[in-house]
Structure formats: structure tokens, C-alpha cells
């Protein structure tokens, strides 16, 4: 079946059949229309940074330089830095809004409050804010003010959130390379300056700036966003839910939250629950909320909201004809959803001033009127339900049980049930004994160039069978969840013997009545910071650097600029990082060699590793883990 070449998700396959019948174009059709894609772009040797261009370098001969004299190495490195800066800007902007929300907790009639006082105090203590107070709103304001400094530091000191949380060994390493960021906004501005016409032509210098941008992302983006969100909405705890399109309910008003920032989606979930009566008055049984992309992860972890699908399935969810309203904030939202929704009855609501889509309805959502706007949007969903009818509604039956929401706090909590005094000891002992060979974090997107979820699922199955513990975030977590890997049954059926024993012992001690899943869902893409925190804690416990741990990272199906900045952050943390598809850098041998070879490994401890075949990728990661074990003498 041709649909099997597009996705391994059987619900998505059924929906592809439906959209074909309905004559609706999707991302897979548009890829076909785009092929063959431009070879110069694919190699990264196209430059359009000035009006003397566009220029492109011929990989097989002349011209070897653009109009200004920039060669392939300069152009590729410059384009990569711009992409990674795009990713860093995305997460820093996300985090900034979360800081604003925490700052506003102090205001009268704020829509947001401090839900997790313990996390607030823990963060405050770490960044040097006096926690000797009972006034949580005031403490929140002080923490937010300190967080803002990461964007307003005008000295040459390292930005606060990095200085507070990064391991000392890393800060020394980055300091020697001159890549410590001072101020997230300043670094992003500087990178755009550095890459404009007639500034930096030195590929090495451009790659070092790329490393610096990744640290902006890692600390002013990922880490800061997670901390703020945990304080405002609560630190996630393991939660049982379901995943895939079967979570939509024919007799309910179906609302989908899609995007990334929980400031909107948390409010939508809250108001959906408050407005059940309005839905019943409209003839529905109630309001059913489901998530897509990272917003789906945020609301899953904290509210148990079931994710409907991941990135590549967003159009397919609307094509069920059962989605009455999809509300989006920012990132990974295909503009095409307005067109697909137009073929059915569902309404698309955009909410952010920087993220509007022609054909959608825009409801401006701000931190100051969050409740009123959320209510307005949910009412629109109820109105839309009345227009649904039963014609051309098809909801695939697939829904897979999952356990999600493993924050570092809850992982340590579960381990402390095994050893209360020394919680990390059982995990470290299991790694030392070889019961757990090592760990891999799988993160990131779907990419339409490979069958949806294929690399994620096949690679991870092989990893867990070889006793590698997997932690996952983002659309990778969705891919693995839909394939049943976020469930204890997968431990019983698919995990290697050693891994199975450890997960069973911890799961039973934690009172789950069975093993933990072999893949621990750690959250959204910004929650990759949780993986960073876990690695930092493990390295600290063992008295080694992160780069010495038997671990690796992987973005099996990367698509977004964010995947490049997160990937570079992982490499900068000292972790080998697998990519299932190459970035647009192959036009420069120098850049490829630097990022995948000994140079970067000797400087940072990590490097990139590109492999499209999931079996081979798993083998590559396993042999890396074994080499690290050997170096540690275990």
C-alpha cells in the first residue's frame, strides 16, 4: 500500500485514504509537488543575504564563490548559524513570555498563579533569591525579575540562567572556546549581524557562534521555559492517558490545542472543563480536548489531556470531520490547516500577534485577558459543533494507552522508593552492572521525507531490546506513544532482560504494580532541559563529566530549526547526537568534517552523527555507549 510508505501510523494511513477520497491535499502531496527539490538549497550553498545575489556555489566546478567572494564553507556555515539562531530565538521568545506570566502573578486579578511552591523555592534558592518569605506572589516576582536579567544583562558576564544551572566543567569548557552567552537577546542580535553581508567569513568562527546560539537555546530557552512553566502550572507527575486519533469523540465537542506554549493551552483546557453545560445545551455529551505537537505534551503531562497525533498528522486530525475547533499559538503549525479545515466544518483560531494564518479566525490572546479569551474560544467551539452534522465524519479507532510526565523530580521520587537515602544509587548501580547499558534521549520532529514515525519507532525498539533506557520528548514521544512504547507492556514484551528487571523493580517499589515503560516521556521540546538536568545530576553523582557518560541523543526525523539548535546544544553539553536526516550543510566538506569529526569532539566532547537507517543508527548509538562504558571501566 502506498500509504504505508508515507506513515507507519495505521490511524494516519486510514486518514490518508479518506483525504484522497475527499480530494484534500496534504503535506505528502505537497512534498511530491516540490520534488525534485533544489540541489543548491539541499547542500546549503545558496546565499540570498544581499541584493547582489542570490548566489549559489557549483559543487562540481565553477563558480566557487558568490558575488562578494564568499565560498561554500562561508555560505554553509553562515546559513547554519542563521538556522540555529532561528531555533534559539524561538525557544528564548517562548521562555520570555513564560517569565512575563510569572512576573504578572504578583498583579491583582492575574490569570496565572504559582502552582508549585516547592519548585519556585528550589529555583529561587539556586539563582540566589532569598526564599525566607511566605508571600509566593512576591517571591515569583523576584524570581521573574532575576530571569529577565538573562535578557537584559549589559555586561560581559555570562547570562544568569546558564551560570546558575550548567555544570562547572561545561562552563570552563565553553569559556575557553569563548562561546559563553551574555544576554540571550544580544546574542541573537549579534548572530544576525555576524551573518549579514560583509561581516564574518570565517567558517570556524561562524561554527563557534553556532555553539553559542545553542547555549542561548539550552538555557535562556529550554531550561528557563521549563522552570517557569513548572512553577506556574506544576511540575509534571506520571499520568495515564491515551494517544492517537481515536481519542476524538464523535458525541463531544472536540477542541484541539496545537502549538507549543502552555500559557494558552492550559487556559483552554481549564475553560473547556468549565463549559460542559454549554456543550450539553448544544446537544453534545461534553467537551473533549486533545493535543497536537508540544502543546499536546504540555497538557498531557499536567492535565492528562490525550494527544491526538504529532506534527505530520495535524491535517489528518482535521480531516476526521470531528474536530470542531483547533486553537494554535506558535511553531510547527502548517498554514495548510486553514485550507483543510475549510474542506470540513472545523474552525481554526490563531491567537498570537506573530502567528496568523489567512483563512483562520484571529482571537488575540494576551496574558492580561487570558481567561476571557479562552472562554470566547471555547464558546466558538460549541457553536462550531452545531454546524458539524454527521456527514463525512470518520474517527479511526486507534488509541493507545500511555504513561507520560516523567519529570526529573518524579524519576528521582520513584528511585527514592528503592533507596530513600541515595535515590540515584539504584540507577547508577544498574548502569554499572550492565543491566542498563546506557541511555538515549530521542527528541524532535516528524519529517515528511521519511515515513512518519518510522525511524523513531524502529530505532527505539532496537535500543530497548539492547537494554538501552530511552527518554523521549516532543513529536518523538508521540511517535513512540502511538507505537505502544510509552506503556509497561512494552517493557514486558520488547525490553532486554536487564532493562526489564530494573524497570520492574523500580515500578513495583514506586507502587505502580508493574514495570515502568521502557521509554520515559519527559515532556515537550523545551523539556529537553529535563534530560539536561538528569544528565547533570548523574554526572555530578558519579564525579565525571557529562561527556563521559554512556549516553547519546537522537533527533530521528528532524524538520525544524529548533531541532538544529537543540541538537547543537546536546553536542555542546558533550553528547553524541544522531540525526536521521542531514541538515543543509553537505555543500561544505569543512563544515561537515568539523561537526561530525574529531575537531568538535575534542573541543566539546560531543559530535553529530548522521544515519538514516534506523537499524544502523541504533547499532551506532549502542557501540558509542559501549565505548563510553569501556572508557569508564564498567
Amino acid at each position: 500500500m502506498v500509504f504505508e510508505k508515507k506513515t507507519i501510523d495505521t490511524a494516519a494511513q486510514k486518514m490518508l485514504k479518506k483525504v484522497e477520497k475527499d480530494g484534500v491535499k496534504t503535506v505528502w502531496d505537497r512534498l511530491q509537488d516540490q520534488e525534485p527539490q533544489c540541489g543548491f538549497g539541499a547542500l546549503g550553498v545558496c546565499c540570498r543575504n544581499c541584493l547582489q545575489g542570490p548566489c549559489r556555489i557549483n559543487p562540481f566546478g565553477e563558480p566557487k564563490q558568490g558575488v562578494c567572494g564568499a565560498d561554500a564553507d562561508t555560505i554553509v556555515a553562515r546559513n547554519l548559524l542563521r538556522s540555529v539562531t532561528g531555533g534559539a530565538a524561538t525557544h528564548a521568545d517562548h521562555a520570555y513570555e513564560a517569565v512575563e506570566a510569572l512576573f504578572k502573578v504578583w498583579e491583582e486579578n492575574s490569570s496565572y498563579m504559582v502552582k508549585d511552591e516547592a519548585k519556585l523555592k528550589a529555583v529561587a534558592a539556586k539563582i540566589g533569591v532569598d526564599i525566607d518569605t511566605e508571600d509566593m506572589a512576591l517571591l515569583a516576582r523576584e524570581v521573574a525579575e532575576k530571569a529577565f536579567e538573562t535578557f537584559t544583562n549589559h555586561t560581559s558576564e555570562t547570562m544568569g540562567w546558564l551560570a546558575a544551572w550548567a555544570p562547572k566543567e561545561r562552563i570552563d569548557t565553553w569559556g575557553k572556546l569563548g562561546v559563553l552567552p551574555r544576554n540571550a537577546d544580544r546574542e541573537i542580535r549579534e548572530a544576525l549581524h555576524q551573518t549579514t553581508m560583509g561581516v564574518d567569513a570565517d567558517p570556524t568562527n561562524l561554527l563557534l557562534a553556532t555553539v553559542k546560539q545553542s547555549l542561548v537555546d539550552g538555557f535562556a530557552g529550554l531550561k528557563l521555559a521549563t522552570d517557569m512553566q513548572d512553577i506556574i502550572f506544576g511540575t509534571p507527575k506520571p499520568v495515564q492517558s491515551e494517544m492517537n486519533l481515536g481519542v476524538l469523540k464523535e458525541d463531544h465537542v472536540n477542541v484541539i490545542v496545537h502549538g507549543h506554549v502552555p500559557l494558552l493551552s492550559e487556559k483552554i483546557v481549564e475553560w473547556c472543563r468549565k463549559m460542559e453545560e454549554e456543550a450539553k445545551a448544544a446537544g453534545a455529551q461534553g467537551i473533549n480536548v486533545a493535543g497536537i505537537c508540544c502543546t499536546g505534551n504540555e497538557t498531557l503531562m499536567r492535565q492528562g489531556v490525550p494527544p491526538a497525533t504529532n506534527f505530520l498528522g495535524q491535517e489528518l486530525a482535521l480531516a476526521t470531520g470531528a474536530v470542531d475547533l483547533i486553537v494554535v499559538d506558535a511553531q510547527c503549525i502548517m498554514p495548510s490547516i486553514a485550507n483543510v479545515a475549510g474542506c470540513y466544518h472545523g474552525e481554526v483560531i490563531t491567537t498570537m500577534p506573530i502567528s496568523k494564518i489567512p483563512g483562520a479566525t484571529h482571537v488575540p490572546f494576551t496574558l492580561d485577558d487570558a481567561d476571557a479569551r479562552a472562554k470566547e474560544i471555547v464558546l466558538k467551539a460549541v457553536e462550531s459543533f452545531k454546524k458539524r452534522g454527521s456527514k463525512n465524519v470518520f474517527i479511526p479507532e486507534e488509541k493507545v494507552p500511555i504513561i507520560a510526565g516523567f519529570s526529573v523530580e518524579t524519576i528521582v521520587g520513584a528511585l527514592s522508593k528503592v533507596n530513600a537515602e541515595d535515590p540515584l544509587k539504584p540507577l547508577v548501580d544498574s548502569i554499572k552492572s550492565g543491566a542498563i547499558l546506557g541511555a538515549v534521549g530521542t527528541v524532535g520532529c516528524n519529517n515528511v521525507k521519511v515515513p512518519q514515525d518510522y525511524i523513531h519507532v524502529e530505532m527505539v525498539k532496537k535500543l530497548i531490546a539492547n537494554n538501552v533506557l530511552v527518554v523521549a520528548t516532543g513529536c518523538s514521544a508521540h511517535a513512540l506513544g502511538k507505537a505502544g512504547l510509552l506503556h509497561p507492556d512494552a517493557t514486558i514484551n520488547l525490553a532486554g532482560e536487564g532493562l526489564k528487571q530494573v524497570l520492574t523493580a523500580v515500578g513495583e517499589a514506586a507502587g505502580l504494580g508493574g514495570p515502568l515503560p521502557p521509554v520515559l516521556h519527559m515532556g515537550s521540546c523545551v523539556d529537553n532541559s529535563r534530560i539536561g538536568d538528569l544528565l547533570t545530576a548523574l554526572a555530578d553523582y558519579l564525579g565525571v563529566a557529562i561527556k563521559d557518560l554512556p549516553v547519546a541523543a537522537s533527533a530521528p526525523e528532524p524538520q525544524h530549526e529548533k531541532a538544529l539548535s537543540i541538537g547543537t546544544w546536546a553536542v555542546s553539553m558533550g553528547v553524541l547526537t544522531h540525526l536521521g536526516l542531514p541538515p543543509h550543510i553537505l555543500g561544505s566538506e569543512a563544515v561537515v568534517k568539523t561537526l561530525t569529526g574529531d575537531t568538535i569532539e575534542s573541543l566539546l566532547g560531543g559530535k553529530f552523527y548522521v544515519e538514516i537507517d534506523p537499524e544502523k543508527a541504533a547499532e551506532g548509538l549502542i557501540s558509542h555507549i559501549k565505548a563510553k562504558r569501556q572508557a569508564l571501566g564498567i
Partner: protein
């Protein structure tokens, strides 16, 4: 018989045809493979511009092939069945007579082997790499008669208006 036909007003000058042609004549037959193996394959199609129009040009496989007439070693041949003009590089002595004879400049020097290179219509592919790579349809593989028909149809939409304009 299908031919490579050009609609110059559709050519945006992206050079994708040149890149695809070079890749098809590499050993890897794949862009990334050829780049990683550091191959230097040669394109047989060239996008020329005079600042106003762009024109992708390659061997026209002429019915009256001057290059074949000019070849003194018998390397250049016109296959009467397939209607393709080809070169046998083993017989080519590098005299460049064909280069001088070709009105389009479509024959190029292979500087490594000191023989000539030209469009071979991508014998291993269903469709030549250049037409398959063209994103705008400036280069198409089609029957000459269909191409003419398309032009007549296009003219038809303008002609009556012109007539009416005159009346």
C-alpha cells in the same frame, strides 16, 4: 518522437538542470553521494542569459547534424532509429571540429580526457535528468507536435482579441 523543448519565458535561471545533469553523469548518480565522494562530473546543459531572457541549451539532436558531418574520426553519429546524436568517446580525437560546427555551442570539452562531451539523453533514465529537475516547466520532454499544438492554442486566445481590436 519526444524532444527536449524549451519555453524560455518560464526559465528563472536556477541552474537546477545543470546540477541534475552533472549528477546524472557522476558515478554516484546521486547529489549527496557525488559530493561526498568529491566527484567533479560535467554538465551537458547550460543556462545562458542576455539579461532579459534565460535559455537552457543542450544538444538539439538535429535532423541535419552539422557536428556529425564535421566529424572526421566517425566518433559523432546520428542513430536514425532513436534520432539521437551521440559521441563515441573512444573514437574522438579532440579536434573540436564539432564544437565549431554546432550552431548552439552545445558541445563541450572534457578537459580531463581531452575529448568532447554532449547531451546523451540520459540513457539510464525514463526522462532526462534536466527536464525532471526543472521546477517551472521551462524544459520539457514532449512530442514536437504537442508543443506546436500548445503554442497554437495559446495563440488562439490572443488572436480573436487582436482581430476584434482592429475591427
Amino acid at each position: 518522437m519526444e524532444q527536449l523543448l524549451i519555453t524560455p519565458e518560464r526559465c528563472l535561471g536556477c541552474h537546477s538542470c545543470e546540477l541534475a545533469c552533472a549528477v546524472e553523469h557522476s558515478e554516484a548518480k546521486d547529489l549527496i553521494g557525488a559530493v561526498l565522494k568529491k566527484e567533479q562530473p560535467v554538465a551537458r546543459i547550460f543556462v545562458e542569459t542576455d539579461g532579459r531572457s534565460n535559455l537552457p541549451l543542450q544538444c538539439r539532436h538535429c535532423e541535419e547534424p552539422y557536428c556529425v558531418y564535421a566529424c572526421m574520426s566517425g566518433a559523432m553519429k546520428k542513430d536514425e532509429e532513436t534520432k539521437r546524436v551521440s559521441v563515441d568517446q573512444d573514437r574522438c580525437v579532440g579536434c573540436w571540429m564539432c564544437v565549431m560546427a554546432c550552431p548552439f555551442g552545445a558541445i563541450v570539452q572534457d578537459t580531463m580526457q581531452r575529448v568532447i562531451n554532449k547531451c546523451d539523453f540520459c540513457p539510464d533514465k525514463k526522462e532526462p535528468a534536466c527536464t525532471a529537475a526543472c521546477p517551472t516547466g521551462a524544459l520539457r520532454l514532449m512530442e514536437v507536435s504537442d508543443f506546436s499544438k500548445e503554442k497554437r492554442q495559446k495563440y488562439l486566445t490572443v488572436f480573436p482579441k487582436n482581430i476584434q481590436g482592429e475591427v
